[in-house]
Symmetry: C2
Amino acid sequence: MAGKIIIVGLGPGNYFDMTARAKSAIESAEVIAGYKTYVNLIPELVAGKKIIATAMMQETLRAELAISEAQKNLSVAVISSGDAGIYGMAGLVIEKILDLPENLQPEFEVVAGISAVNSAAAILGAPLMHDFAVISLSDLLTDWQLIKKRVKCAAEGDFVIALYNPKSKKRVTQIEEVQQILLKIKNPQTPVGIVTNAGRAGQIKIISTLEKFTQEEINMFSLILIGNSKTFVKNNFMITPRGYEIKQGVQ
Amino acid sequence: MAGKIIIVGLGPGNYFDMTARAKSAIESAEVIAGYKTYVNLIPELVAGKKIIATAMMQETLRAELAISEAQKNLSVAVISSGDAGIYGMAGLVIEKILDLPENLQPEFEVVAGISAVNSAAAILGAPLMHDFAVISLSDLLTDWQLIKKRVKCAAEGDFVIALYNPKSKKRVTQIEEVQQILLKIKNPQTPVGIVTNAGRAGQIKIISTLEKFTQEEINMFSLILIGNSKTFVKNNFMITPRGYEIKQGVQ
């Protein structure tokens, strides 16, 4: 008999921004699997439990270890920061489970969380009042040409654009390429918000413009939000109007 | 002296999927402002408080009433379902506040919540493991031509596409127009997930295809997720692989 795996989104990583469902799922689990930086964000919740804390990039191993624990009829929580369903662990764990013969498949459930795009938006003001596109600049598993194409399509559709993984120690030029693609289509004065360590110690909020934002500090803990053609900045808050006011004839 | 307004995302509307920050903000507020259907979702939290419950479409009035309560030095929680920062009340309230002379501006804060796209994804499996675009089909405040253009751009970029407000009693043909636009670009067998009343009483999950999904029950409480070219369905779960596996040469 196989146990159950709950794939849980922690949100930004502080208890206050976690849902009651996420907290309860972690509390009731016998085994916790997660990237060690995230496990370390919730020491009180995981105390006394068996911990499978693997390094970054070891997602596949982590998913397999979690499943093998559940197959011992244990309850397992696999944790992701943000929303486990947005660039998180949900996909990999579910794929691995459904690849197994049916009698070896643990039950599973995904518990949504506050993703970085939600947290960053709340900190910046109200940039997501209209349609938006979410793009990860990590090219580890995605062809860079496709990522660039998506940036171009998102700009042509005048979406607000959220960039996950904009920069890492080894990957520093992509954000400038993205900026160049956007500058061909969008106004250089388009507001750009950068939130680093949203909802965690060391949170930084910067509001800049499309023309200048790459001069700011951006790292792997940053989320970047690029406005649409109507987004404006007032008193250091970034706001996208909820509509284009066509009914009032303002357009 | 002006009080404080907290614009709070409830998540789907059950206590279990609310963050501790949202719950605490509502508990500590003296006045609650919100669309009455959402106020009614949380009777225990709002009991004994002054309630400003306006009808749908009265967002501007609701924002103004909330601000005038805060100007009496009361603490006010303006509630939205989902994430107040995603098609919610955050933008309108902040705009109205920042339009006031500085000495009449209440303090404000946005508390993020689980939006419909997060909830629906968790119910469907793991459809948001890769880049996605979020589009509202409501043409009350947005020109329908722009909405159609965004649908086309999102399809050309092979984004997973989340559709908010796909259909209402008066607005029934748009979803079929969207389907036709997508069928010109995407495979007719592309998986489509429909979640209605996510996380609430009467929750329904349907997995269909691009070719057929408009035959299913879709209403104003539905969120639709349309897969990218790699999204697949297995055991009635919808999964988008997290990458295109280029590093393994599978592509």
